[in-house]
Symmetry: C2
Subunit: 218 residues, 2 copies
């Protein structure tokens, strides 16, 4: 990310602490005091917000290299839960140290701003998905997004193992688990994907893109 050796050295001192989280355990919960950002080193997380009456909404899934915890800055307390979907390890980055180093290194400063901006842009695209897409489009967009992020990490472009349940997918996409399951089945019938439980093989990426973006021929 464009840092020189000196900067890297300083940065290393910030991210010296590691933390392991077992599958199903929380990295933090709503209301916890905010102290640090976390960089996922391995494993897979979900973040979710909860209403007073018990409904909850998955707001994102985070994989290796992604940053969790920025929700806590504004009020000094976390406003969502971060749950490990498989055994995971994170780098703990105490936020006061991040801010301190950011004042010293403009590269790092700008990087922090970019990470937060990226999260905002990502959230906007989820709002678009939730606000204006139908079930098939949502699931297709979800699969394409997941596989694209995995591919960027050296995994296959066409095969993936889902780390979350149908219910969690549904919560993220604003649909019920049964609808998620049915939509998977529909894609299978159409020959677009193969599904065996958590394993998904995308046989026809273009078909998925077609579903997300009907006639972008214009």
């Amino acid at each position: 990310m464009g840092l020189n050796p000196e900067e890297m050295g300083k940065l290393d001192t910030v991210i010296s602490t590691r933390r392991r989280i077992k599958r199903g355990a929380a990295l933090f919960n709503t209301g916890d005091k905010f102290t640090s950002l976390y960089a996922v080193r391995s494993g897979f997380f979900k973040t979710c917000v909860t209403t007073a009456d018990g409904r909850d909404q998955v707001t994102g899934f985070q994989m290796t290299g992604e940053i969790i915890g920025m929700d806590g800055i504004v009020s000094d307390r976390h406003s969502c839960d971060a749950i490990a979907l498989e055994d995971a390890e994170v780098c703990v980055m105490p936020f006061d140290q991040v801010e301190e180093l950011s004042r010293e290194f403009t590269t790092l400063q700008h990087h922090v701003h970019k990470i937060m901006s990226r999260e905002i842009v990502r959230d906007h695209s989820v709002m678009l998905l939730l606000g204006s897409m139908r079930a098939e489009e949502r699931l297709a967009a979800f699969l394409l997004n997941l596989v694209q992020r995995l591919h960027a990490r050296g995994f296959s472009q066409s095969e993936l193992i889902l780390r979350m349940t149908r219910e969690e997918i549904g919560s993220y996409l604003g649909m019920k688990l049964e609808t998620v399951s049915r939509t998977f089945s529909k894609f299978v019938e159409e020959g677009t994907i193969e599904v065996k439980q958590r394993y998904v093989h995308i046989k026809n990426t273009d078909a998925l893109k077609q579903i997300v973006n009907p006639q972008s021929c214009r």
Copy 2:
């Protein structure tokens, strides 16, 4: 926001530029080069993202004192449109100057981080709304949020003038304009609000809260 006179003075030099935007005009469009954040001084904005196939989604409404443009940081280009819903004026805050001053004043630095974090948290609550609420709940939550923000600016707790159309409300809330209209009518029939075009009088705030949060009696 806890700045001393010296800091205020420096800050004034950053936000010296003003810009007027006529109703219906864009503060910026998707793809525009990112240079600055904008603080709304007067007027009312919407931000919206657009898909390749022409659908669009209102991602937020911004009023006096709120900050627009953070979507542009990550890629150096804006990823949404910002449109004035009435004649408006903004303070232009060149982002490189914001970053420069942030390195000097920790108070300002933290303030910038908070603003971005607040946007992330807000987006998450919209995702909750879009993902798990029904039409009535969405509109009730929307009205309560609007009136609360207006009240914080010295306006009435129970009366407001909507600056956006039913279609824009619908786009924000993930429903069609007809459904927005019908839901308004339903609230009127139930005696919860009065509506005359853009004018809304909330006669029973508790009833609205009840709709958003059914039996939080637990």
